[in-house]
Subunit: 178 residues, 2 copies
């Protein structure tokens, strides 16, 4: 089946994201507009310590006007590999280094309207790194067990999509290694 | 800690999403711009049949220019509850009704730059409903076991964020009921 791009109009070019409106032709011949966000991609890393505690950061999110509990994460810097980005976010946001980093998944966060591609890692064998230097939005680190985390998803104390995906995948990852 | 909104400028108002650029004042007094997508919210529902097979749809995603395997999902229509939206997407996209629908989670898909809020359900006790009438982008239904799905996440045959979150949560949900 063929979807043909007929026209593409750039609406906005920003620091974090850009927006275009594309006109496409569907297989039936019908024309339709698609609003598309372009984004340079991001990385998240779920740190799990030797006691099985997950380390989350409390972060103010202006877009939703509240604090969320999230795994360390951030946008890819220019020239940086996803793994380098993951290590950097781990140090900056919670001040730890990891002896082991493994990939859990790569995915599109919201493919209905955005090309943002996300790299998700797990960090194990944690040790104290340089003191963290998080952005002002990050106000602290919270440690929870997997059982607590699953409950906090149900009660919406954890309500960040990538963090929810990370918790489920990390749980399966650790079981497969046990 | 206080984050103050200083200015908000609407850049684009579309069918699916809108975009504004906000200027905020951080607790330190520093001013910073935030690009913010507003979105009316969406719903996804993971159907699991009596044999433990997950039903996924193959859907063309213009934003990433490829077909992705995803759970049935869609944007909230005006006046529709999230549960009604889930039932509708289930019928439209795969032509089934569910005897049981339970909530798995509610979350922000990408709170770094969007207010999109997502409702995630599991559908059980499936039975044939009205014939599906999916959009042109949807080209078929694929059934996989949970084991296959976990492998397909690793191999990037499944690379949709909400679908990955749903598979992990559905697995834990079914274990907790077993």
């Amino acid at each position: 089946m063929r979807f043909k791009l007929i026209d593409s109009r750039e609406v906005f070019k920003g620091e974090v994201l850009s927006l275009k409106v594309d006109t496409i032709e569907l297989p039936s011949g019908r024309k339709s507009e698609r609003e598309v966000i372009t984004h340079r991609g991001a990385v998240g890393i779920i740190p799990v310590d030797e006691n099985g505690m997950i380390m989350l950061v409390s972060q103010f999110r202006h877009a939703v006007d509240k604090y969320l509990l999230e795994i360390p994460a951030g946008k890819l810097d220019a020239g940086e590999t996803p793994l380098e980005c993951g290590r950097r976010e781990l140090e900056e946001e919670i001040g730890v280094e990891a002896g082991v980093i493994d990939e859990l998944a790569r995915f599109y966060t919201t493919p209905g309207y955005s090309d943002e591609f996300f790299h998700l890692y797990i960090a194990l064998e944690l040790k104290k790194g340089k003191a963290s230097q998080p952005e002002e939005e990050i106000t602290g680190v919270v440690e929870v067990t997997f059982d607590e985390a699953m409950k906090m998803i149900k009660t919406q104390e954890i309500e960040d999509g990538k963090t929810i995906a990370a918790i489920g995948l990390a749980l399966e990852y650790l079981k497969s290694k046990a």
